[in-house]
């Protein structure tokens, strides 16, 4: 079992919802998906690489026959999977502090959700509904979400400078190089092993 690989933490959570509430949540997600300004806070939480919410209707668990007994559930279930940088406590604290309105909108339809503020009860709830990851892979374990964003900025800047490198005088190149350094200097953070957590 490992929830951590390099600089990424895998979180899994599952919460029960009364089926009639599921439709409200679907509408909320539809709005979140189509009105980009609503995603601003989520994007600003720049330590999240990928995250998803998946609603599994009470009759939506895969039923394949072959002797499998069909599920008989009263609740729909909300699955949450996140891939984030940093520790569990940092993540939940930041979620609660920055995204409390959005979190309440998503999870208030789940049974016994206490609200994302105050954080103590919120953490207790998340700890209760979380389950562990058995296998976790990332293609770039040495990098955080911000490292990846920065690396693509550096790559684009190199390609821009490369386009003029051979067709200008040394003085013109030096001027362009200076602009290039100014562009990328905030994006040269060191990747590698994660800090020791504990």
């Amino acid at each position: 079992m490992s929830n951590i690989n390099g600089k990424v933490y895998a979180m899994n959570a599952i919460t029960p919802m009364k089926p009639w509430k599921t439709w409200i949540l679907r509408a909320a997600f539809f709005a979140l998906g189509h009105i980009k300004p609503l995603q601003k806070d989520l994007i600003n939480l720049s330590f999240i690489e990928f995250a998803r919410w998946v609603i599994v209707p009470r009759d939506g668990f895969p039923s394949l026959g072959n002797g499998q007994v069909k599920e008989d559930l009263q609740y729909d279930y909300l699955l949450f999977f996140s891939n984030f940088n940093g520790t569990w406590n940092q993540y939940i604290d930041a979620f609660s502090a920055v995204l409390s309105g959005g979190l309440n909108l998503v999870w208030r339809w789940s049974e016994k959700f206490p609200g994302s503020v105050p954080v103590t009860l919120f953490k207790e709830y998340i700890a209760r509904v979380q389950f562990d990851t058995d296998y976790y892979y990332t293609a770039y374990p040495q990098a955080t979400a911000n490292d990846v964003k920065s690396a693509h900025i550096v790559q684009a800047s190199v390609e821009s400078l490369a386009a003029i490198a051979e067709n200008c005088t040394p003085e013109q190149f030096a001027e362009a190089y200076l602009k290039f350094v100014l562009q990328v200097q905030c994006h040269l953070g060191e990747t590698g092993n994660a800090p020791v957590a504990g």
């Binding site: 079992m1 990424v8 895998a10 899994n12 919460t15 029960p16 998906g33 690489e49 990928f50 998803r52 998946v54 609603i55 599994v56 939506g60 668990f61 895969p62 394949l64 026959g65 072959n66 499998q68 007994v69 008989d72 009263q74 609740y75 279930y77 699955l79 999977f81 891939n83 940093g86 520790t87 016994k112 209760r128 509904v129 389950f131 990851t133 058995d134 296998y135 976790y136 892979y137 293609a139 770039y140 040495q142 990098a143 979400a145 990846v148 690396a151 550096v154 790559q155 190199v158 040394p170 190149f173 030096a174 190089y177 990328v184 994006h187 060191e190 590698g192 092993n193 800090p195 504990g198």
Partner: protein, 210 residues
């Protein structure tokens, strides 16, 4: 389409695990045992197959009871959750998995109900799709770059850091000549292996972060 964000696809699969009282150890435990021995670095099956940014495999034993006044209920099957963040389209990805790592897929999913094996590509893809749950909302911090582009960009970032450090105070002619040579050097570098921690750097990170 909620499964996609930009060019990244969010795949969520729930495969029911075989319930067999006579199996020793149980099928879910056999999956867990196999996964615990599987590499998560550059020789990971997901590094060998193309197109996976991040992926996880999780045995979900049951739903979670949150306490009164909610009703307590239980699943009749355990499920193997496969969550993957991948490049491109689903059919291409699943076919790529079946072509690249069939032995790993079979070793894991043979414990799931109705699994046909990766040998029959069409049956494998159909099975995975039958177990797929549509993602309701999918967020990707970077949604327009492939795994290959990201690995290349991270390599460039490290090389550029070194180049800039080495050329502080260099005159214009040296700078231009060396940068053109540097571009050739960048092109000559092999693509870093997916799943690797990157080159060892003699810079210490560390300290407690909690």
């Amino acid at each position: 389409m909620p499964n996609k964000n930009g060019s990244v696809y969010g795949l969520t699969i729930l495969s029911p695990i075989i319930e067999d009282e006579k199996a020793t150890p149980s099928h879910d435990l056999q999956i867990r045992n196999y996964l615990s021995k599987l590499s998560t670095r550059e020789d990971s099956p997901f590094a060998l197959a193309p197109g996976t940014h991040l992926a996880r495999l999780v045995v979900m034993d049951d739903v979670i009871y949150v306490g009164m006044p909610a009703c307590e209920e239980h699943l009749k099957s355990k499920y193997l959750i496969f969550e993957s963040n991948l490049d491109g389209d689903l059919d291409g990805y699943l076919n790529g998995l079946a072509a690249s790592i069939p032995e790993h897929l079979d070793a894991i999913w043979q414990h799931c109900v109705g699994y046909p094996g990766a040998g029959s590509r069409r049956a494998f893809v159909d099975y995975m799709k039958a177990c797929q749950i549509e993602t309701t909302f999918f967020f990707a911090a970077v949604n327009d770059k492939s795994v290959t582009e990201t690995l290349r960009a991270l390599q460039t970032q490290t090389a550029v850091t070194d180049f800039i450090a080495r050329h502080q105070g260099a005159d214009a002619s040296t700078l231009q000549r060396d940068f053109i040579a540097f571009l050739g050097y960048l092109k000559s570098l092999p693509l870093p292996k997916a799943g690797s921690m990157g080159p060892h750097r003699p810079i210490e990170t560390g300290g407690r972060n909690e």
